[in-house]
């Protein structure tokens, strides 16, 4: 299992979702992805995108300057 980071800070939705999606396309099931963003909309949009596409959210942390969302990559097929 690999751990990856996606920097989506200062991007407005849906760009952080697109960044996350495009990054995950290159990862394998079981990988962990830490997405960092500043648009509060990601707290809804990234989990919704994950539910729709078969990935799971394993953590969400409100940091002082940004939001971190941790995703476990699911089986895409």
């Amino acid at each position: 299992m690999a751990v990856h980071e996606v920097n989506a800070r200062r991007l407005l939705c849906p760009m952080p979702v697109i960044r996350t999606q495009d990054a995950i396309a290159g990862y394998i099931p079981g990988d962990e992805v830490h997405v960092f963003g500043t648009d509060p909309g990601i707290k809804q949009d990234i989990p919704a995108w994950c539910r729709v596409n078969g990935h799971s959210i394993i953590g969400m942390i409100d940091h002082e300057d940004d939001i971190e969302i941790i995703i476990k990559v699911g089986n895409a097929s």
């Binding site: 407005l12 760009m15 697109i18 949009d45 919704a48 729709v52 596409n53």
Partner: protein, 347 residues
Amino acid sequence: MTQPRKAVALISGGLDSMLAAKVILDQGIHVEGINFYTGFCVEGHTHAIRKKDKQKPKRNNALWTAEQLGIKLHIIDIVEEYKDILINPKHGYGANLNPCLDCKIFMVNKAQQWARENGFDFIITGEVIGQRPKSQRKETMPVIAEESGANDRLLRPLCAKNLPETLPEREGWVDRSKLYGLSGRSRKPQIAMANEFGLEDFAQPAGGCCFLTDPNYATKLADMWQHQGNKNYELDDIMLLKVGRHVRPNDHFKLIIGREEGENNFMQGYRKQFTHMRVKDYAGPLVLLDGEPDTDDLALAARIIGRFSQGKMADELNVGITRPGEEEFIVTAKPMGPSDIPQEWYV
């Protein structure tokens, strides 16, 4: 057992594309959604900007639609490629600056490419003949199919019965008798279908799927193009047209005046790129100046922003002005009176 046929559905977040996908899903076809982000989409942005909207949890309607349908959704960034569509639409603009026909052709073409690369058999859209006066007419349906290159792999489940048979119908992948024959501007049949399918709380955007159909937005975009002398734009420009009150006293510059705290916070991020101003001795909005203001313009701008501050009744107030990369300096100004700002300055 044969593999089910696969369709890619253009999902805008509105009701029609949702129904079209549902009709095909119900025929046992494997459907996945595709959604294109042009930069002008109603989804996103405004929620991040306006404080009052933050009270309601924001939802991305395209993702919500996919979730209701239980299908995957692929969101594609077409911001760069879309510029050419908006700047030079071969088929012209709709009522505002919406190049709907060119936009549809472009999106269907992208969906067709995606379908080919991902082993999908056909493309579906929520188009209805006569639903939109310019882009969704009987004559434009074949134009979209041909110019996009999708040809008879483009199926419109909601109005298919009014159109020639497409490949998925001819091949028996879908049953034409279970498709629909909607036409005209009425929304009633779609609402009835939604009820029948048990779909609730769907989005019904009034104008269409994007800001380009909004007359106020289109006016601001046209003003920007006119004053910069060309139609180029960057994502930041698109965003700033959604924010604040825009006041243009002359050809040199315009003011973008934050209307509330959320907008002021959002505009903070642009202070490095723009000359910005703020009243020092009273509460007031952050103001960005777009263009090439000279010293007289700055004095005028200071009087205008005084009007939008808590000190509007004061005889004089101090306004801090910062040009990009320079130190702030202060000018003293008398705020403009209630009727001093001509209506035509408001873009």
